[in-house]
Symmetry: C2
Protein backbone atom coordinates (compact mmCIF):
# COMPACT_ATOMS: atom_id res chain seq x y z
CA UNK A 1 0.00 0.00 0.00
CA UNK A 2 1.44 3.34 -1.06
CA UNK A 3 1.76 5.66 1.92
CA UNK A 4 -0.09 8.96 1.97
CA UNK A 5 1.77 12.17 1.17
CA UNK A 6 2.19 14.55 4.13
CA UNK A 7 0.78 17.51 2.14
CA UNK A 8 -2.25 15.41 1.15
CA UNK A 9 -2.82 14.58 4.84
CA UNK A 10 -2.59 18.25 5.75
CA UNK A 11 -5.14 19.15 3.05
CA UNK A 12 -7.48 16.36 4.09
CA UNK A 13 -7.29 17.41 7.74
CA UNK A 14 -7.97 21.03 6.75
CA UNK A 15 -11.27 19.70 5.42
CA UNK A 16 -12.10 16.84 7.75
CA UNK A 17 -10.00 17.00 10.92
CA UNK A 18 -10.83 18.37 14.36
CA UNK A 19 -8.56 19.56 17.12
CA UNK A 20 -10.61 19.41 20.26
CA UNK A 21 -9.99 20.00 23.95
CA UNK A 22 -12.64 18.65 26.30
CA UNK A 23 -12.90 19.79 29.93
CA UNK A 24 -14.71 17.33 32.17
CA UNK A 25 -15.66 17.11 35.83
CA UNK A 26 -13.66 14.28 37.34
CA UNK A 27 -13.65 13.81 41.13
CA UNK A 28 -10.58 11.55 40.94
CA UNK A 29 -8.47 14.54 39.87
CA UNK A 30 -7.00 16.81 42.55
CA UNK A 31 -8.62 19.88 40.97
CA UNK A 32 -11.90 18.04 40.30
CA UNK A 33 -11.51 18.52 36.55
CA UNK A 34 -9.82 16.77 33.69
CA UNK A 35 -8.49 18.24 30.46
CA UNK A 36 -8.71 15.86 27.52
CA UNK A 37 -7.28 17.00 24.18
CA UNK A 38 -7.92 14.93 21.12
CA UNK A 39 -7.35 14.98 17.41
CA UNK A 40 -9.92 13.22 15.26
CA UNK A 41 -11.00 12.68 11.70
CA UNK A 42 -14.56 11.57 11.02
CA UNK A 43 -15.70 9.83 7.83
CA UNK A 44 -18.73 8.07 6.47
CA UNK A 45 -18.38 4.29 6.92
CA UNK A 46 -17.89 3.91 3.15
CA UNK A 47 -14.56 5.66 3.62
CA UNK A 48 -13.38 3.78 6.71
CA UNK A 49 -10.34 2.56 4.73
CA UNK A 50 -8.90 6.08 4.63
CA UNK A 51 -9.07 6.20 8.45
CA UNK A 52 -6.96 3.04 8.61
CA UNK A 53 -4.54 4.51 6.08
CA UNK A 54 -4.26 7.64 8.26
CA UNK A 55 -3.80 5.52 11.38
CA UNK A 56 -0.97 3.72 9.64
CA UNK A 57 0.41 7.04 8.37
CA UNK A 58 0.53 8.56 11.86
CA UNK A 59 1.43 5.23 13.45
CA UNK A 60 -1.13 5.76 16.21
CA UNK A 61 -4.76 6.29 17.13
CA UNK A 62 -7.78 4.06 17.04
CA UNK A 63 -10.63 3.75 14.56
CA UNK A 64 -14.04 3.55 16.18
CA UNK A 65 -17.68 4.28 15.59
CA UNK A 66 -18.55 7.97 15.83
CA UNK A 67 -22.33 7.95 15.44
CA UNK A 68 -24.81 6.51 12.97
CA UNK A 69 -22.90 5.51 9.85
CA UNK A 70 -19.86 7.57 10.70
CA UNK A 71 -16.48 6.36 11.96
CA UNK A 72 -13.53 8.24 13.39
CA UNK A 73 -9.81 7.97 13.82
CA UNK A 74 -9.17 9.34 17.29
CA UNK A 75 -5.83 10.18 18.84
CA UNK A 76 -5.89 10.99 22.55
CA UNK A 77 -2.62 9.73 23.93
CA UNK A 78 -0.80 12.78 25.24
CA UNK A 79 2.72 11.69 24.24
CA UNK A 80 1.50 11.05 20.71
CA UNK A 81 -0.21 14.43 20.45
CA UNK A 82 2.87 16.15 21.85
CA UNK A 83 5.55 14.23 19.97
CA UNK A 84 3.84 13.39 16.68
CA UNK A 85 0.67 15.29 15.88
CA UNK A 86 1.73 18.80 16.89
CA UNK A 87 5.13 18.55 15.15
CA UNK A 88 3.48 17.10 12.03
CA UNK A 89 1.17 20.11 11.61
CA UNK A 90 4.04 22.47 12.35
CA UNK A 91 5.90 20.97 9.40
CA UNK A 92 2.81 20.59 7.17
CA UNK A 93 0.89 23.80 7.59
CA UNK A 94 -2.87 23.95 7.50
CA UNK A 95 -4.31 26.57 5.14
CA UNK A 96 -7.85 27.22 6.39
CA UNK A 97 -9.12 28.74 9.64
CA UNK A 98 -8.49 25.32 11.17
CA UNK A 99 -4.92 26.52 11.48
CA UNK A 100 -6.07 28.81 14.30
CA UNK A 101 -7.63 25.85 16.09
CA UNK A 102 -4.37 23.99 15.70
CA UNK A 103 -2.40 26.90 17.16
CA UNK A 104 -4.68 27.01 20.22
CA UNK A 105 -4.49 23.23 20.50
CA UNK A 106 -0.69 23.40 20.44
CA UNK A 107 -0.71 26.09 23.12
CA UNK A 108 -2.81 23.83 25.36
CA UNK A 109 -0.65 20.78 24.67
CA UNK A 110 2.41 22.82 25.65
CA UNK A 111 0.72 24.01 28.86
CA UNK A 112 -0.17 20.40 29.67
CA UNK A 113 3.37 19.29 29.01
CA UNK A 114 4.33 21.70 31.83
CA UNK A 115 1.63 20.17 34.06
CA UNK A 116 -0.57 23.30 34.06
CA UNK A 117 -3.75 21.23 33.63
CA UNK A 118 -3.21 19.85 37.13
CA UNK A 119 -3.66 23.28 38.75
CA UNK A 120 -6.82 25.37 39.02
CA UNK A 121 -5.19 28.45 37.46
CA UNK A 122 -3.88 26.37 34.59
CA UNK A 123 -7.28 24.84 33.90
CA UNK A 124 -8.81 28.32 33.84
CA UNK A 125 -6.21 29.38 31.28
CA UNK A 126 -6.83 26.25 29.22
CA UNK A 127 -10.60 26.83 29.24
CA UNK A 128 -10.09 30.39 28.03
CA UNK A 129 -7.90 29.21 25.17
CA UNK A 130 -10.15 26.29 24.23
CA UNK A 131 -13.06 28.68 24.16
CA UNK A 132 -11.49 30.35 21.13
CA UNK A 133 -11.42 27.04 19.24
CA UNK A 134 -13.87 25.24 16.95
CA UNK A 135 -15.96 28.27 16.17
CA UNK A 136 -18.00 28.28 19.27
CA UNK A 137 -18.62 28.79 22.89
CA UNK A 138 -18.41 25.66 24.91
CA UNK A 139 -21.19 26.01 27.44
CA UNK A 140 -20.02 23.16 29.60
CA UNK A 141 -16.45 24.46 29.73
CA UNK A 142 -17.71 27.95 30.55
CA UNK A 143 -19.84 26.50 33.34
CA UNK A 144 -16.73 24.83 34.73
CA UNK A 145 -14.84 28.10 34.46
CA UNK A 146 -17.60 29.77 36.50
CA UNK A 147 -17.33 27.03 39.12
CA UNK A 148 -13.57 27.41 39.29
CA UNK A 149 -13.81 31.19 39.61
CA UNK A 150 -16.46 30.85 42.31
CA UNK A 151 -14.40 28.32 44.26
CA UNK A 152 -11.43 30.65 44.44
Amino acid sequence: MKSLEPAWVSGFVDGEGTFYVGIYRNPTMKTGYQVLPEFRIVQHKDDIQILYKLKSFFGCGSVRKNHDDRYELRIRKFETLYQKIVPFFERNQLQTKKKHDFIKFKEIIHLMEKGKHLEVEGIKEIIKISNLMNRGLKHKALEILKELNASG
Copy 2:
Protein backbone atom coordinates in the same frame (compact mmCIF):
# COMPACT_ATOMS: atom_id res chain seq x y z
CA MET B 1 1.26 34.71 -1.17
CA LYS B 2 2.76 31.23 -1.06
CA SER B 3 1.02 28.98 -3.55
CA LEU B 4 -0.75 25.83 -2.38
CA GLU B 5 0.93 22.45 -2.78
CA PRO B 6 -0.73 20.13 -5.32
CA ALA B 7 -0.88 17.25 -2.79
CA TRP B 8 -2.52 19.57 -0.22
CA VAL B 9 -5.13 20.54 -2.84
CA SER B 10 -5.80 16.88 -3.61
CA GLY B 11 -6.28 16.12 0.11
CA PHE B 12 -8.52 19.13 0.61
CA VAL B 13 -10.67 18.17 -2.38
CA ASP B 14 -10.91 14.60 -1.07
CA GLY B 15 -12.60 16.17 1.94
CA GLU B 16 -14.41 19.16 0.50
CA GLY B 17 -14.69 18.92 -3.27
CA THR B 18 -17.55 17.71 -5.46
CA PHE B 19 -17.52 16.41 -9.01
CA TYR B 20 -21.05 16.82 -10.27
CA VAL B 21 -22.84 16.29 -13.56
CA GLY B 22 -26.24 17.92 -13.88
CA ILE B 23 -28.73 16.92 -16.57
CA TYR B 24 -31.32 19.58 -17.35
CA ARG B 25 -34.26 19.97 -19.69
CA ASN B 26 -33.34 22.66 -22.19
CA PRO B 27 -35.59 23.23 -25.23
CA THR B 28 -32.86 25.23 -27.00
CA MET B 29 -30.79 22.05 -27.34
CA LYS B 30 -31.42 19.73 -30.29
CA THR B 31 -32.02 16.77 -27.95
CA GLY B 32 -34.06 18.87 -25.50
CA TYR B 33 -31.54 18.24 -22.74
CA GLN B 34 -28.31 19.75 -21.52
CA VAL B 35 -25.44 18.08 -19.71
CA LEU B 36 -23.63 20.38 -17.30
CA PRO B 37 -20.58 19.04 -15.48
CA GLU B 38 -19.05 21.08 -12.70
CA PHE B 39 -16.35 20.88 -10.10
CA ARG B 40 -16.95 22.79 -6.88
CA ILE B 41 -15.59 23.31 -3.42
CA VAL B 42 -17.91 24.71 -0.77
CA GLN B 43 -16.73 26.45 2.41
CA HIS B 44 -18.16 28.42 5.28
CA LYS B 45 -17.83 32.16 4.62
CA ASP B 46 -15.13 32.37 7.30
CA ASP B 47 -12.91 30.37 4.96
CA ILE B 48 -13.69 32.24 1.75
CA GLN B 49 -9.98 33.14 1.45
CA ILE B 50 -9.08 29.51 0.75
CA LEU B 51 -11.55 29.52 -2.18
CA TYR B 52 -9.72 32.50 -3.67
CA LYS B 53 -6.39 30.74 -3.09
CA LEU B 54 -7.74 27.67 -4.90
CA LYS B 55 -9.09 29.84 -7.71
CA SER B 56 -5.66 31.33 -8.10
CA PHE B 57 -4.06 27.86 -7.84
CA PHE B 58 -6.21 26.43 -10.65
CA GLY B 59 -6.19 29.73 -12.54
CA CYS B 60 -9.91 29.48 -13.17
CA GLY B 61 -13.41 29.31 -11.70
CA SER B 62 -15.54 31.78 -9.85
CA VAL B 63 -16.25 32.28 -6.18
CA ARG B 64 -19.94 32.78 -5.44
CA LYS B 65 -22.52 32.35 -2.73
CA ASN B 66 -23.66 28.76 -2.29
CA HIS B 67 -26.42 29.10 0.30
CA ASP B 68 -26.78 30.67 3.74
CA ASP B 69 -23.30 31.41 5.03
CA ARG B 70 -21.56 29.12 2.57
CA TYR B 71 -19.55 30.09 -0.50
CA GLU B 72 -18.24 28.00 -3.36
CA LEU B 73 -15.53 27.97 -5.96
CA ARG B 74 -17.25 26.64 -9.06
CA ILE B 75 -15.61 25.57 -12.30
CA ARG B 76 -17.98 24.86 -15.18
CA LYS B 77 -16.13 25.89 -18.32
CA PHE B 78 -15.73 22.72 -20.36
CA GLU B 79 -12.26 23.49 -21.73
CA THR B 80 -11.02 24.13 -18.19
CA LEU B 81 -12.51 20.90 -16.86
CA TYR B 82 -11.05 18.96 -19.77
CA GLN B 83 -7.66 20.60 -19.97
CA LYS B 84 -6.92 21.49 -16.35
CA ILE B 85 -9.11 19.85 -13.72
CA VAL B 86 -9.17 16.29 -15.07
CA PRO B 87 -5.41 16.19 -15.75
CA PHE B 88 -4.70 17.69 -12.31
CA PHE B 89 -6.53 14.88 -10.48
CA GLU B 90 -4.92 12.30 -12.74
CA ARG B 91 -1.53 13.54 -11.57
CA ASN B 92 -2.59 14.13 -7.94
CA GLN B 93 -4.63 11.11 -7.02
CA LEU B 94 -7.56 11.28 -4.66
CA GLN B 95 -7.50 8.73 -1.84
CA THR B 96 -11.12 8.42 -0.69
CA LYS B 97 -14.22 7.09 -2.47
CA LYS B 98 -14.35 10.48 -4.14
CA LYS B 99 -11.81 9.01 -6.51
CA HIS B 100 -14.63 6.91 -8.00
CA ASP B 101 -16.71 10.04 -8.56
CA PHE B 102 -13.73 11.60 -10.28
CA ILE B 103 -13.28 8.57 -12.56
CA LYS B 104 -16.96 8.74 -13.62
CA PHE B 105 -16.66 12.50 -14.05
CA LYS B 106 -13.63 12.01 -16.29
CA GLU B 107 -15.51 9.41 -18.35
CA ILE B 108 -18.33 11.90 -18.92
CA ILE B 109 -15.94 14.74 -19.76
CA HIS B 110 -14.27 12.49 -22.34
CA LEU B 111 -17.66 11.53 -23.83
CA MET B 112 -18.55 15.21 -24.04
CA GLU B 113 -15.26 16.00 -25.69
CA LYS B 114 -16.42 13.60 -28.46
CA GLY B 115 -19.77 15.41 -28.63
CA LYS B 116 -21.77 12.49 -27.22
CA HIS B 117 -23.85 14.79 -25.01
CA LEU B 118 -25.42 16.23 -28.16
CA GLU B 119 -27.04 12.90 -29.08
CA VAL B 120 -29.88 11.11 -27.33
CA GLU B 121 -27.93 7.85 -26.98
CA GLY B 122 -24.97 9.74 -25.55
CA ILE B 123 -27.12 11.53 -22.98
CA LYS B 124 -28.58 8.19 -21.89
CA GLU B 125 -25.09 6.82 -21.42
CA ILE B 126 -24.05 9.93 -19.49
CA ILE B 127 -27.08 9.69 -17.20
CA LYS B 128 -26.27 6.07 -16.45
CA ILE B 129 -22.70 6.97 -15.53
CA SER B 130 -23.66 10.05 -13.51
CA ASN B 131 -26.14 7.89 -11.63
CA LEU B 132 -23.20 6.01 -10.11
CA MET B 133 -21.71 9.25 -8.76
CA ASN B 134 -22.12 11.22 -5.52
CA ARG B 135 -23.55 8.34 -3.55
CA GLY B 136 -27.05 8.59 -4.79
CA LEU B 137 -29.78 8.22 -7.26
CA LYS B 138 -30.58 11.40 -9.08
CA HIS B 139 -34.34 11.38 -9.40
CA LYS B 140 -34.48 14.16 -11.93
CA ALA B 141 -31.83 12.57 -14.13
CA LEU B 142 -33.63 9.23 -13.93
CA GLU B 143 -36.87 10.92 -14.91
CA ILE B 144 -35.10 12.36 -17.92
CA LEU B 145 -33.71 8.92 -18.77
CA LYS B 146 -37.27 7.56 -18.67
CA GLU B 147 -38.43 10.35 -21.01
CA LEU B 148 -35.56 9.64 -23.42
CA ASN B 149 -36.28 5.92 -23.42
CA ALA B 150 -39.99 6.56 -24.00
CA SER B 151 -39.34 8.98 -26.85
CA GLY B 152 -37.27 6.42 -28.73
